[in-house]
Symmetry: D2
Subunit: 371 residues, 4 copies
């Protein structure tokens, strides 16, 4: 271990999202990845020359323009051993570096500064922490409109609500389907809140994408690779929940599936892992939040409702999440939790949600951020 | 706890699979399930009368003809409270019973005797234990044909091989796709072995079903409900692997998704769960095998290759699986494990596989079964 | 579920610790526990009368005087069914209640207000969060004195340091033993900081108690019941770490072992649980902190150093712990982590520790507490 | 990975246990271990010369005489880099080898052939599998004598029974203490069965050792190092249960603590680990049994009663354990499980135990062993 530096929090500045504009296919093993770092002030012609040389080698370059540096990411089994030296002679190229993590495009090695995902003007990943709130399932027009108004008034900046629900049993309520999507869109019209809703299968991506602002991939689908690639192809913001027994590395590799389709707009979401503990529904893993913030440039938010399974534990864990460095929260709020058709026991009522918001703002301020 | 009876192993007799011929849709909560038990000697007219009365209540009956008794399963949120009494007056009806487990159609309460799934004449779930063997991935014609011949010669009764491979990283080998399926079909032609291969997404079900004899649902997809329903609709044999952090109850509920589509041909497969132990790839859970055999009538097999992650642990755990009551095994065999494109470290070579088979036969005989 | 009340954080007021002055022995099964709640203004004669009646039934009463109410806890297999009615007729008795949790004396049912443990004037469990800091092991006079001075200067209120170290392998450094204890005492003299140090076996309790201000029970010993009872008998403050696969209920039951010896001075410490995740040493469970704060009146602190295993994750998780409601922290600090004889990779250097302290103060203030 | 050899089961021959006759103390880090392999036919004078040279270096040699080779194990932080070369010139020395595993004396690298532990003539670790049976707790003279007779008649070769019971709650039955030990001794007199019973704390080792034939270390105490060293010093057979979240490596390191005291008579016992699964009390890890059999020369037995927590799962898992290569079983048997004071739900009644024994014999025969 090298001598330990004094910790300094990454300065968070809203920057334009990386431009990752091309698909590529890798069929072999032993993938290698590298970064071509351009000199400050390098121009488009120089960048283009590098990309063309990569294409001569049948490789695609992922262009990442940052505030401080511009890099071209290259991932592929077929990177010739001499390519690095070859490119280092190009005009405008500063150096080439290997990416050592198994995930490449999502890694901080490729992009040291934070990615900010823009959802209809709401920035996720910047200095301001985002709060997404709403019911587990959309149940009726009244329920979703009431909730949307309540959470907007309390200060939430997006609305969540499930229209397609994954359920362990085939005999339980699975959501209202497209009707639910239409009700969400109506709630958006009335409140201006962008909407986050889950899509469960590749064939539904087009349908859900017509209504949603953020496509949510649920924990059970974190390794549904066709679905990841399909939402990757939409280019839309994607909220990727961690699987309940997924390692942090597997979670980032699933994000890599989306980004590798040319879609950099991924928001990671920790929602609790499965452990031996039965007093809580899941074990919220805030270690993972702090570690993911170091390993990836993607924003990381937390779901304290699923992460604890108990409404009265969601507030303290929401505060803890912000303190641990999360870029936001997704919280279940229901106008009448006792009558919810799913997950009532973990939903806050609007009063408790409203009481939580100023506390969140205070903790955000304490760690140098805002709400 | 009631006084403990002397244990007697369920007598296993090949019987015709249950006839579950109708789909049904349940949209509400609070599902109830019941069984209408027909008297011994009840006739088709009597059965038909019960089914028609159920239809008057907008309920569908799942007819299960067993050697010892014939029952009609009913699952639905809309079962009227008085229906049981109503049906108990019908001619030919012996009694009605509630199913208390969350899974219904797969439960032993509905069907006390073992289901036997017929795969081109190979019976899974009968007295004879089945051995499925083959490589993790289909890599080439020579590789799959060589392996198929070797495992058939050693006594395997089905061939496994992946054409579509789920991989944590988007940059690793994902299988040969349809080419892989064609090579599997060719191996079947040359050896007569039915083939088991994975399908990963609803859109591929038709394609894979044209080649495969058994559709495998991988561990990562155990709760991919659209996929479960899609393979349910084919009516083909389905091998359902347990998810790596799925409880036994969740595993049976996923099987219920398939069977609820009218497809009773589900083979459960334990393949190891994720625990804190890192010396083995997964922790093979043979408790789950013994418990599942009590809770469901579906056959249960074991994958000791994924369950241990080490070729040298697969043989002792294969023997243990048969001793624990498993109905069969699925084992990775590769002609040259050191050069395998995936999972080489857990694949047996053909010599070690051949050496294992007589030991398996000896243990099967010791627990009153055959190989 | 009853209608959900608006959450209100328990008001934390320093109160005198409960007086639990008697030992008792329970040998049977089916233990029952009850609380005799005295009326406001009840006097000592009335309390004494209840205790004497309990003694006539061969039961011992645990007297708990709180700011708002005085109760007498009774735990025992031999509580006669009619005793509650009998006592409710006593002068000064308001009512009797059953304790439904498996833990009794540590439960909030018995004592709704927070216990404050006094360690040489440092209050643990009050409004002020406590920070305990120091090296994993005491290594030398210079090392411990340097560290003690540095952490005191940064604002820590107690010093930690191991003289007896539990180690997985018999061949690694196990601590300096009594020499380590003497060096800790010397550090206390020079800095005034009370010292926290581990005791591993009943026979060492007397020795360690001669030097320490808080007796630490390590995670591996959380269910070493003889040790728990032995530290219980000292009456000294005890820091009880959660076992790495202990449920919250088991953790509180272990605290019950100490308190049942008449020693109410128990500080609970969450230090991470063992899960499948390997990117961090343990998974810090802040759900457990928030839940334990609701279920018990004992103070709960957090060890983010063991809880993460990485020095750079300790600061964000320390902040998160305070936000989640922890009553304090125990943090590893070493003057030269790269040369530490144990756990260097998770120790902060003094500069990073000093940089963390004002951030902790800011988060504490944000949740209505101080540092 | 090197080319895969055909698996051959280690031939098991009863051999005299290794003579490890000296204690040693290691205080530093970076322990190294090596083996001095003597030539076939080397004599005592040659061995003595090696040991004396080690002593000149302040190292102690652990002499291990096997049927095939005699080796001297050396463990110590202070092994000089030139020592190997130095010893290789000694008369009678064939070669010196490093031990690469973190555990040394228990490793198969030191001793390739199986250790056989002799318990009053009952051999544990030889070709014959041993069955230890009896109640969770000794409850009365009649209970233990009845059980002892029943299990002996059914073919068990040792009797288990707890006199000191570790219990999560301080308010539940903790065993009869010394009275329980006396009753066990009485049962041994009447039946001739050696007795296995737990010791929980260093101070009780002398007392328990006066009655017991095998000292059991429970799962909760697997890392109670003072206790391990204390039972190590007795030289008596020790049954070491795996901790419920202990890795295989940690389990073997705990065995190393005992053996390092000069006591080679350790029997390892897998008893289930703690996972997310709640349908069974623990998850029996037979991977661990097969892996431990490869990594250590010590015998490995299995406790299917605690490993499953259900009496009806104990028989299939007992069969599986023998098939996986276990050297024996420890099974809970109670004359009236419904009235047991602890763990009744996982105890077999004598009839079910008797019915299991011939099945165990059949499976043992199928894997080339006897019962």
């Amino acid at each position: 271990m090298s001598p330990q530096p004094t910790t300094t929090r990454t300065v968070l500045r809203p920057v334009s999202p990386p431009v990752l504009d091309q698909r590529f296919v890798v069929t072999g093993e032993g993938v290698e990845a590298m970064i071509v770092v351009m000199q400050t002030g390098s121009n488009d012609t120089q960048i283009q020359a590098v990309i063309e040389r990569l294409e001569e080698h049948h490789l695609r370059g992922h262009l990442v323009r940052g505030a401080e540096r511009t890099v071209i990411g290259v991932v592929g089994a077929a990177i010739p051993p001499t390519l690095r030296e070859e490119l280092e002679h190009f005009s405008g190229v500063k150096e080439t570096l290997r990416i050592t993590q198994p995930y490449k495009l999502v890694s901080r090695e490729l992009r040291p500064i934070d990615t900010v995902v823009d959802v209809r003007g709401v920035k996720v990943g910047g200095n301001r922490c985002v709060v997404i709130a709403g019911p587990c399932s959309v149940e009726s027009e009244e329920q979703i409109i009431t909730t949307a108004r309540a959470v907007r008034e309390a200060g939430a900046s997006m609305l969540r609500g499930g229209a397609f629900k994954p359920r362990s049993s085939p005999y339980t309520f699975r959501g209202l389907g497209e009707l639910g999507l239409r009700l969400l869109a109506q709630a958006r019209e009335e409140t201006g809140l962008p909407i986050v809703t889950e899509v469960m299968t590749p064939n539904d991506v087009d349908l859900v994408a017509r209504y949603a602002d953020v496509l949510q991939i649920g924990a059970r689908n974190m390794q549904n690779y066709q679905l990841l690639e399909e939402v990757g192809r939409t280019g839309m913001p994607v909220l990727l929940k961690r699987g309940l027994s997924a390692t942090i590395e597997e979670w980032l590799l699933s994000a890599e599936y989306v980004v590798a389709q040319g879609n950099p707009n991924v928001i990671l979401c920790e929602r609790g892992i499965r452990t031996f503990e039965t007093a809580t529904r899941n074990t919220l893993d805030l270690n993972a939040v702090a570690l993911a913030r170091r390993r990836t440039h993607l924003p990381v938010i937390v779901d304290p409702s699923h992460g604890t399974g108990k409404w009265y534990l969601a507030p303290p864990l929401a505060l803890a999440s912000i303190a641990a460095g999360a870029d936001g929260l997704i919280i279940e709020v229901h106008p009448d939790p006792d009558r919810a058709r799913s997950d009532g026991g973990q939903s806050l009522n609007p009063e408790n949600f409203a009481a939580l918001m100023p506390k969140l703002a205070a903790v955000a301020a304490a760690v140098g951020r805002s709400l």
